[in-house]
Symmetry: C2
């Protein structure tokens, strides 16, 4: 648990590691999904599409927990809990940047014309 | 999401992959932690110590979500949601077996004399 990202946390978040994001469903049960992860140096950022389960959950209850474990070293771990904020501006460019980071391609191959992307920004609490 | 483990799911769970377990805190916010993972072929099993945050959360609210992502292939994923059951019998032997699986040692090096281990059994729902 951290309430401010350390330089080591930022380093981990800048690597192409898979994070797991936990949210709470409408019925009060937990939900968890793997995501690509990013940071602006102070916040943890991920990207989703509006209307997906985790987005709907976070609109209703913005509390979120994120776990990042180095795939090469399971003792190198970051756990963040915080409140989700939604950022529309730049969300398409952000998912393209994540596709570059994780897949080495210039444009996110999963993009759908009828899908609105959103950046989820989580400040560690 | 699955409601019965496939042979491929069982294979993933038998490998030394890191899982992430999501529970719900007393205040209704989500919590997530990495764990060692195991299966009996039908259920997902992990091991914790009584009194830890995730154990206290699961005693109060047994709903749990588990994500397993292959560290070598981020598209090989298992997500299970279910209800935690607690198994005391064999919990010390189980954490030793997990230490063998993950660390290659015969006995769990983190064992504390004042700590009671418990197996958490999750049947996919």
């Amino acid at each position: 648990m951290t309430n401010k990202l350390s330089p080591q946390d930022v380093e981990l978040l800048k690597e192409p590691q898979i994070a797991n994001v936990a949210t709470v469903m409408a019925d009060g049960t937990p939900q968890v999904t793997p995501v690509w992860i990013d940071t602006d140096g102070e916040n943890v950022l991920f990207n989703t599409a509006k209307g997906r389960v985790k987005h709907r959950n976070l609109v209703r209850n913005p509390k979120v927990a994120i776990s990042v474990v180095d795939k090469a070293d399971p003792y190198r771990i970051l756990i963040v809990r915080g409140t989700a904020e939604f950022v529309d501006d730049g969300a398409d460019a952000h998912i393209d940047a994540l596709a570059k980071k994780y897949l080495g391609v210039d444009s996110y191959p999963g993009h759908k014309a009828d899908e609105q992307r959103v950046i989820v920004k989580v400040t560690p609490e």
